[in-house]
């Protein structure tokens, strides 16, 4: 399946895009999204272990499986406030 991933902050700057697509098998995990991103966008490699992944606007663990139609986002540690 084709998964669209929103990127923010330094992750967006490094990838050069606010939204990217990665191709993954059906039922892929969040961890596989992270790995596919780092492979497709080598600039993300150095920060890949620290990237947080959100599915449907909530933090997701690497073991979590993606359902079709879910909204995926990926970003480095937050610094609001």
């Amino acid at each position: 399946m084709n998964v669209s991933v929103q990127l923010f902050a330094r992750a967006r700057d490094l990838a050069g895009a606010g939204s990217v697509s990665v191709e993954l098998p059906e039922g892929a995990t969040v961890g596989e999204v992270r790995a596919a991103l780092a492979k497709a966008y080598p600039a993300l490699q150095p920060i890949a272990p620290s990237l947080l992944v959100a599915v449907d606007a909530d933090y997701a663990t690497d073991a979590q499986r993606l359902q079709p139609g879910q909204v995926v986002a990926c970003f480095p540690p937050v610094s609001g406030g």
Partner: protein, 157 residues
């Protein structure tokens, strides 16, 4: 109406006086307003401005769930959180947290919990615009992989 939303993101100046008014009630004996403001000096480096960016849908959801948690944990009579996005100059208010409670301990504790947790959990990021012309996204724990760029350059790893 927007004015009565418990949590808000805005690109305008935060009207923190209005936010504070919204939590005041005859049931409260205490109100606490916290403001985060753009500080000039950080670890000896001079800032000229901050850019705040957010993942808005998730930021709103997370801010709302933090407020719900505060309302569960503390006997609050009101809670509001508003975060500003975009370019902020020195002294500008980036975040306002307003809470009220019958007694002061809960108001202080809830205000502190909300800003502490917001800084850890809500997907908002600030970019430093240093006086030397460089810029830098602030990502706690990512110091080994800083992203800086000079004026007019593209960001690079």
């Amino acid at each position: 109406m927007a004015e009565s939303e418990m949590v808000r993101l805005t690109r305008e100046e935060i009207d923190h006086a209005a936010l504070l008014e919204e939590v005041r009630t005859h049931a409260a004996g205490a109100a606490v307003l916290f403001l985060g403001t753009v500080r000039e000096m950080t670890n000896g480096r001079q800032t000229i401005a901050l850019d705040y960016d957010a993942y808005p849908e998730m930021a709103i959801a997370k801010m709302r769930s933090l407020c719900d948690e505060a309302l569960e944990r503390f006997p609050l009579t009101g809670v509001r959180v508003e975060h500003r996005l975009g370019r902020l100059e020195l002294g500008d208010v980036s975040i306002a947290v307003a809470v009220s409670s019958p007694h002061r301990a809960a108001a202080f504790d809830a205000g502190r919990m909300l800003i502490d947790r917001l800084k850890e959990e809500v997907p908002i990021w600030k970019k430093e615009n240093w006086a030397d012309g460089s810029t830098e996204w602030v990502h706690p724990g990512l110091d080994g992989a800083t992203s800086q760029s000079g004026p007019g350059e593209e960001a690079r790893p």
